[in-house]
Structures are given as C-alpha cells and as structure tokens.
Amino acid sequence: MSVLSSTRQSSGPGYTTLGRYFRGVFLPKFIRFIIILFVGLTIAFAVTRINPIDPANALIQKLTSSYGANVLRPEEIESFRRAILAIFGRDRPIWEQYISYLVGVFTFNFGPSFTYFPSLATDIISSYLPWTVFLLTFSTIVSWIIGITMGVLASIFERRAIGKVLNWISLVVYPIPTTILALVFLVLFVSQLRAYMISPGGGVTAFRLDLETLAGMFSRAWAPALVLIFYNTMVWALGTKGLADVVRSEDYVRYAVIRGLPLKYIYSRYLVKGVLPPQITALALTLGNIFSGAMVIERAFSYPGLGSLLSLAVASNDYPLVLGIVSYSILGVALAAFILDLIYPLIDPRIRYGAG
C-alpha cells in the first residue's frame, strides 16, 4: 500500500477530512473563543459593578425627573425602570445580575439609551456599527497588504538605502500613540479639514447598501482611513521585516538559492508565503489594539463610528450605551479573532497536515 493512501484513510494525523478538521481545529478554537469572550464580558460586567455610583438609580432618578414628567406615560416609565434594574440592578445576588447581563448581551437589549431616549441602546449602536466596520475592515486589509510588502522589501534590501529608510520610518512611527498621530494629521491638513472640527457625530445616515450611501460614507471616511492605514502599515511593516529576516535564513530558502532560483521568485513566492501564516496569528492577537486605535481616530475626525458614539455617550453619562458599545466591541473582536484562527490552518499546510 502506498504511504500516502495510508495517511489519509487511517486515523493518522492531518486535517484533510471535514470531520477531523472539526475535531482538530474547530472545536479547540471554539473553546478558546468562548474563553476569550467570557473573560472580556466578565471584565466589562465587573467594571460596571465595582464602582462608587450606582448607575441604576442615577438613571431612574433622571428618568422620573425632567424627562419623565411631561413626555412619558407612567407605564412606559415603569417598563424602563424594570429594564434598567434588570441590567444594572444591584439588589439581586451577583451571579443573577451576571446572567441577566449576559442575556442582555446576546438578546441585544441593554435598555434605553439615555441621550437618544426612548430608543434602545442597541438600535443606536447598530446604526453606527456599519460605519466602523466599513472603516476598520477597509483600512486593516489595505494596511495589512501594504505593510507586509513593505516589510518584505525592507528585509530584502536590508543593506541598501531603501531598506534602511523603510525600516527607520516604521521604527519611528510604531510607538507614536494613535491619538497624537491623528492630531498631527489634523493640524497638518487643518485647512481642508475645517468641516471636521465641528462637534463629533454629525448627521448619521441609515446604512443602505447602495452606491449613494457608500459614496457618502467614503467621502467622510477617507481622512480617518488615511491615518489608520498609515499607522497600521508601519506596524505590519515592522513586524513583517523581523519575520522576513527569520524566514530568509530558513534552510528551505537557502536551498532555493542553491537550486539557482531567481531572487525575485524566491522573494515573492517563498518569503511572502513564509511570512503570511504567522502574520495572521499576529493580526488575531492585535485586533484589540487596532480596534482601540480606530475608535480614537474616529473621535478625532468626528467620523460617525462607534468611537464618536462612545464619546457622545460618555459626555452625557449614558451608561447603557457605554456598556453596550464595550460589550459589542469585545464580542466583535473575539469573533474576528476566532474566524482568523479558523482560516490559519487552511493556509498553512504544516498545520493542516501536521503530525507533530
């Protein structure tokens, strides 16, 4: 019997069949996703519990005073009181509060937003979310591609001027906080960007998948996207340069040189392919930072994403909205990391067929 057929049929290693992919990759990664998600949500929950002021009665007190009196019918106030107590109420045992918080997260119900009264916090979030998703995915993909190419080039031309320059730029930009980078961009282009400087959260158009909204989105997004792309490209370039140096000294790359393959071919096929899998893991791990960076830039450029919304919610002590944004940020990032974990074995044969 040939060696290979034995590998496939027998219960030997390698995730070639779907069943084994599920048991070998999906299940363990799913457990990891659950752990990551629950650690995040637990922290968000804990934060709203161990603090000096009790958001529940602050909210209720505000409800019954200025707003409540003239706008709402008694039973409406009562239903909101119950909703707020359900989420923030401190009278019940802690684990009961925790369960209702989790139920709130997964049934997309955080009670009413305070600033956009009476609509639900989750509805408002869902109107801002697509803007953030659009900005984030667009700029992350672009910066990931440019960054990796820059990193590989910086490694290849290490001794030449272009290599040194590429390396130095990414070295200097990497540590600069995104806030300051955003402000520097604002100052440099302040003349064209005067419109951006008005209060955050200009009009929010509902998200419709048609050309007109997309064009509208793009006109608001090009400036923050530029900053996000510039910063993340440098981050990816620096990381990739280090990785590319390691890959370049691997035995199989040396062997390609010995076999007389042209350098351009080696760099494009061997180097880029060697660098991709670890960079996907890196992407999965740094999603949190990228997300935080995006929020900061949204706030600085008053781009109508979650960043600006959070800034508004904070300005008016809108606890349900703040808690909602935090919880869904955690959920979103954990989900994205999980998806990347699932993609990883598909592109790295060492894992897909890995025996060891």
Binding site: L4, S5, Y252, G260, G274, P349, R350
Partner: protein, 326 residues
C-alpha cells in the same frame, strides 16, 4: 585515472569577522577530482570541508570570501568554468543544476513546507527552461528508481518521513543529470538505517548517471563504505588523499592514523586511544604543520615549516615531514 573534472588550485577561502579578522577556513588547498569517481572529504568539525565544498559549487556569499586560488569545473563538452569568480548570478543561469548540483546539510529539512513536492521539481525545472511534462516525466523516473511511491509527488513535505524527504532531495539534484553532484553531510542527523538507504540511493544514482560525486562527512567509516578516494582535511588544509582502501589499510598522516584508530568496530573490543588537545584557532593558525601540537612525531621542522603535499605512492598524497623526500 581518467581526465579531471574539478581542479582546485591553492584555494584560500576565508570568513570575514568584525574588525577585519579572518577565519582562514580553507587555507591553500590543492585537489584534483576525476570524472566518474566518488570522492569522500573527511574531517572533523571546523576543518573547512564544508567551506571547500561550497567554494567548489561557487556559493560565495557574505561572510565567505575567496582571497586566492581558483576552482575550475571542466565539463564533458570542453567548457571551463572558474567557479570562484563567475559569481552567483552567472552560475545560476548557466552552470548550476545543469553541470553541477548540490545536496545541502540536514537534507530532510530543506524542502519548502508550504508547497507540494512536485512544485519543487516544477519550479527548478522551469527555471532551467524545461517544460512541465518533461519535468514530471524525469521526476517520476527518479522517484521510481529511488524506491519512493509515485503519490509522494502530490504530498506536502510534512506528510513524509525524514528518509523519504532526503531521497526527494537526491531526485531533485539529479533532475538534469548533472556531471557533478556535491553532498554536504546530508545524513548527519539521521539514524543508521535511513543513512544506509540514503547512501545506497546515492550510489545507485551514480551507477545510472556515471557522474562524479563529492561527499563531505565527519564519519570516516561511512565514507570508507562507498567512496573510491578519500581526502582527509585538518584545520583548513588537505593532509592526505588516496584510494579509500589504501588510506584505511596504510594511513600515512599521523592525524589520519589517529582518526582511523579511534573508530570503534563492532566485534573488536581492543582498547583504542584517541587524540588529546584541540584543533588550532583558525583566526591565527600556528606556522608550520598545523597538527604539530597534537602530533606524537612532531620535530622542530614541523613547528616552523609547512610540509608540502607529496605523492608517496601512485595516487596517494600526504603532507607530512615523515614522508616528504629531503
């Protein structure tokens, strides 16, 4: 001995270290390699055998630099290539894999884990101007003759055992049936059984192609079993060259003698003695014969004057004042 295929003339290949200190890895080597033979180059770690092999292949990259001498590759169709001065780019286009190919150290880890086995053959062949089906046809020919199963080609390297990956590296080296095959200690990390399979495959390849094989190893016994001639190296120089059986039966140089005597044999429990001391630091090697600090027969002449490589009997050369004619 038939005609020469590689002629190494007074080769000096050094490694450049910071604040311009040189490690004189290969320090004035004279060597002739004849067509159709299997030549073994033996020596312990740090004696310069791998550096010599890389120089023969023309793989001269920072920090390695050739300061003197040359390596001439003489092909059947009367072409002459000076491997140390052509430079990697010209070698890559005209000489490598066509006339001379190379099997690197720990050959079982040199295949690209990200691509399938057959992609290695296709990319190497295409780069040399072959079309795909000719490449696959040659690949299958060598896979069969090296005792591998055909569907190894569509596997990823990680799916195969170390021994199988090594034989694929041999098949790759034999793709264009080059006149010379260089092997740099490919089986050092392998067990005895797989090593035997590897060497048996290599000698089968040599019988089929009737080409020249140069095999570098620290394991003298392994070289003893399948090479025609052996060159023993010590501290950057060749100290003895001769037919394999002659070198094993009548080793002339004290170092070769000590090396052969220190190898235990199954069934012979006679107490053996090894050498004492250490090889010299090749950053500033001592004058004269570099083995004199460890040599039981050392004289003042050995301390001051370097012994020339002298032909003591037909084809058996040694660099030692015990044998040099006055």
């Amino acid at each position: 001995m038939s005609e020469e295929v590689i002629r190494v003339e007074d080769l000096r290949a050094y490694y450049t270290m910071p604040n311009n200190v040189y490690v004189r890895a290969v320090d004035g080597v004279m060597l002739k390699v004849y067509r159709g033979e299997i030549l073994g180059i033996a020596g312990e770690s740090g004696c310069g055998k791998s550096t010599l092999l890389r120089a023969m292949y023309g793989l001269i990259e920072y920090p390695l630099k050739v300061l003197g001498g040359s390596v001439l590759l003489l092909t059947k169709d009367e072409k002459k290539f000076d491997m140390t001065s052509l430079g990697i780019d010209r070698l890559r286009k005209g000489v490598w894999w066509r006339y001379i190919s190379f099997i690197p150290q720990n050959a079982q880890n040199v295949l690209n884990p990200m691509i399938r086995v057959k992609d290695h053959f296709i990319e190497t062949g295409k780069n040399l101007g072959m079309d795909e089906d000719e490449i696959l046809e040659r690949m299958n020919y060598w896979i069969d003759s090296l005792g591998l199963s055909r569907d190894v080609a569509s596997a990823f390297p990680i799916q195969l055992s170390g021994g199988m990956r090594q034989r694929i590296v041999i098949a790759l080296a034999a793709l264009l049936e080059p006149e010379v095959l260089l092997a740099d200690e490919p089986t050092s990390a392998l067990d005895v059984v797989n090593q035997r399979v590897f060497v048996a495959s290599l000698s089968k390849l040599h019988k089929k192609l009737r080409n020249t094989v140069i095999y570098v190893s620290h394991d003298l016994e392994l070289l003893g079993i399948f090479t025609h001639r052996i060159a023993v190296m010590y501290a950057g120089k060749i100290v003895e060259v001769g037919k394999t059986d002659e070198v094993f039966e009548k080793p002339l140089h004290p170092y070769s003698k000590a090396l052969i005597d220190s190898i235990p044999k199954i069934g012979d429990t006679r107490i053996r003695k090894g050498l004492s001391g250490r090889p010299p630091d090749l950053r500033n090697p001592p004058p004269g014969c570099r083995f004199y600090p460890r040599c039981p027969y050392a004289t003042n002449r050995c301390r001051s004057e370097e012994p020339p490589l002298v032909e003591v009997s037909k084809g058996h050369y040694v660099a030692c004042w015990l044998h040099a004619k006055r």
